[in-house]
């Protein structure tokens, strides 16, 4: 979690379970399939309205698919990642996106394919120089 805090980012999780189910899950040890010690809030979308608003409600089963939304400090959505039910997420990719958006915000540069912190981004006013240097 400190990786997110360092980036001025909070994490919150949502499912269509009740707050009571969340509380029970939080009280269950990891080895028993629980998430005891989890530090971020678990939100209870018991009416499924928020999942529907975000376009991640699977109508047939009534649960939310694995959607992730990166929302900036002004409340604007910057990135959306949605996986179907069987596949989990990659924290490193979320941190990479955060770094990239923050780099863009701070320096006005744009971050091409495969960019990660420490790599040179593109200054849009001098894009030709970047391609000259990096294109293969």
């Amino acid at each position: 979690m400190s990786e997110f805090e360092q980036r001025n980012a909070a994490v919150a999780a949502v499912s269509t379970d009740s707050k009571f189910s969340h509380k029970a899950w939080l009280a269950t040890p990891r080895k028993k399939g629980g998430i005891e010690g989890c530090k971020y809030p678990l939100l209870a979308d018991f009416t499924k309205k928020v999942s529907a608003d975000y376009g991640v409600l699977q109508e047939a089963s009534g649960v939310a698919v694995r959607g992730l939304f990166l929302i900036n400090p002004d409340g604007v959505t910057e990135a959306i990642l949605v996986n179907n039910l069987p596949i989990g997420r990659n924290v490193d990719e979320v941190l990479r996106l955060l770094d990239a958006f923050q780099e863009h915000q701070k320096n006005g540069v744009v971050c091409p394919i495969g960019w990660a912190k420490g790599k040179e981004a593109i200054n849009p006013a001098q894009a030709a120089a970047w391609f000259e240097k990096h294109a293969k």
Partner: protein, 47 residues
């Protein structure tokens, strides 16, 4: 309604468990911070 990049994320206020306590959490609470908001199907599964 659905969400698009570059547009305001839909506002919400939901019951939540925060550090063991029941609380109300709204999207507005996170203004001034980046927020990673993620959905998962069910408690007692993986995320």
């Amino acid at each position: 309604m659905s969400v698009r990049v570059g547009e305001k994320a839909p506002e919400f206020t939901l019951d939540a468990v925060v550090k063991g306590d029941f609380k109300s959490v709204s999207l507005k609470d996170y203004r001034g911070k980046w927020l990673v908001l993620f959905f998962y199907p069910l408690d007692f599964t993986f995320v």
